[in-house]
């Protein structure tokens, strides 16, 4: 084993392992750093500690049986992955869900996005040493989890969407609770901005740190808020609208420099835009069936393939499904955003300080289990 560790060329260099057990790596991640004092010369993320073989499992399960797998890859945006998988299979099999179901799915997806960003916000600040926002965010997040728990039955990894709609209808209590939550979250923005965004110590920790510019992002396939912070307004909800996203009026926040502060601002602004989408969806949601009745449990899509890309909390996720006409997929491949987002760190972390490494790792918002699948 020892020969696999990079041997420092000069006497002053040494190798340091960040992880795999480390309070601030978001999942089981190991980054092998070659250090010269406090400066990082090379960073090599080592992943695979959480590889569970989801893609192999996909070939041995029916489409509906793969639903729980979908939400366990990125457990923080489980409903978004669920939703995406349903949309992919619906596209492949030619199933059209009713209008109400589309709105319900969009509302739940955006709620999930907010909860994922809230958790990122708390953990990012915890990495920087401010422990309190973590608990404030979890307080807000509990509201979302309670709302979604009431409707779907689970708090973190949902299997709420079905091919052709959703598993259960939502009632007026859901609508009430969601509106109350949006109101409450909006009243929190001044707190977050006063305590964190305007805090001099915080700004000095994240300004001009970990710059990911457009070209770097393109070469590594970086997507999501990291790409938008670099200045590219690329959001699947606007570029290739799916479900009913083209009926809402919302903006894509972008940054300019691509440093950690821009990424932070973009995600905070995205939460506000998600609130706008939810409000509009609640207003526009029609009555009607919540599920298409004629869809069989064992969906048998025709032969062919589909590549469906959508915007999850971390960036552009895509399901690539190849069907051979049987109820079991021939191939399920999931393109996860954290893969490229983590990969770009091999370049971004060069010539930075160890203390910045933690800030950068936190600011790109990765969830390692989705990289490992």
């Amino acid at each position: 084993m020892a020969e696999q560790f990079p041997q420092p060329a000069q006497q002053q260099l040494y190798s340091l392992n960040l992880g795999p057990q480390h309070p601030s790596t978001h999942g089981v991640l190991r980054v092998l750093l070659t250090l010269d004092g406090e400066y990082i010369l090379e960073a090599d993320p080592i992943i695979g500690y959480g590889h569970r073989g989801h893609e192999k499992m996909g070939e041995n399960r029916t489409y509906l049986q793969f639903m729980p797998n979908a939400s366990r890859m990125d457990y923080l945006s489980g409903l978004l992955y669920n939703h995406g998988f349903c949309l992919a299979v619906e596209k492949l099999a030619g199933i059209e869900p009713p209008e109400r179901a589309k709105y319900i799915r969009v509302i739940c997806a955006e709620l999930n996005r907010i909860s994922s960003h809230l958790l990122w916000f708390g953990t990012f600040l915890m990495d920087l040493g401010a422990f309190t926002p973590f608990l404030y965010c979890f307080d807000d997040r509990e509201n979302i989890l309670d709302i979604l728990d009431r409707v779907s039955g689970s708090r973190l990894t949902y299997s709420y969407c079905r091919f052709g709609g959703v598993a259960r209808d939502v009632d007026d209590v859901f609508i009430e609770q969601t509106r109350a939550f949006i109101k409450r979250l909006r009243s929190r923005w001044p707190d977050y901005h006063n305590l964190v965004t305007k805090n001099v110590i915080f700004i000095h920790r994240v300004r001009d740190v970990g710059i990911i510019d457009k070209d770097l992002a393109r070469r590594f396939g970086v997507t999501g808020p990291n790409l938008r912070a670099a200045g590219v307004a690329f959001d699947m909800r606007k570029v290739e609208p799916y479900e009913v996203y083209d009926r809402f009026d919302f903006e894509i926040p972008t940054g300019s420099k691509g440093d950690a502060l821009d990424r932070y601002r973009v995600r905070l602004e995205e939460m506000e835009q998600s609130c706008r989408i939810i409000e509009q969806a609640l207003d526009q949601m029609p009555d009607g069936p919540y599920r298409q009745e004629r869809v069989r449990l064992k969906v048998k899509p025709p032969r062919g393939e589909v590549y469906f890309a959508f915007e999850s909390a971390r960036g552009q996720t895509a399901y690539y499904l190849v069907s051979d006409g049987s109820p079991y997929p021939y191939r399920v491949h999931v393109r996860v955003p954290s893969f490229g987002n983590l990969h770009c760190l091999t370049e971004v972390l060069k010539e930075t300080l160890v203390a910045d490494a933690i800030a950068i790792l936190g600011s790109i918002d990765i969830v390692v289990p989705e990289i490992d699948r």
């Binding site: 192999k56 041995n60 396939g221 032969r303 890309a309 191939r331």
Partner: protein
Amino acid sequence: MAAKDDALRRIQELLGPGALTADPDFRAGVSYTVACPKESLLAVMEIFNACGFYLESLTGLDFQDTLEFVYHMNAYEPRARMAVRVLCPHDGEMPSVSGVFASALWQEREAWEFYGVRFSGHPDLRRLLLPDDADFYPLRKDFGTVHAYRKREEVYG
């Protein structure tokens, strides 16, 4: 539009019009499919790089008669996605595009460890997700429980 049309034109020049299959309805999420022979892969990738595309994903498919690698390329425009499909025999080698797209460094490592196909020219081909001493290729259809092992024409006709 500009990037996509530019890339299309240049690929047509390189490979000839027969290599491109259009899907105007974007039903499968891909606007054009490029059937690319192994030797031209690097040239095609360089065209995409020059036109501002990024390598979105690299997928391997295992059929009885051949392996297939599908490169999904996308640009920051609506409906710009193109799929580059490369056939490769089970015991063959693929050229590495990591010199063109840095994201291929990890994507090809993953493809190698799951399908057993070496990518020649890859600077650092070692295991990514599997343990270092794994001597099996999990996504091949002769490993573990397999529901169906088909020929390519059974799926794609």
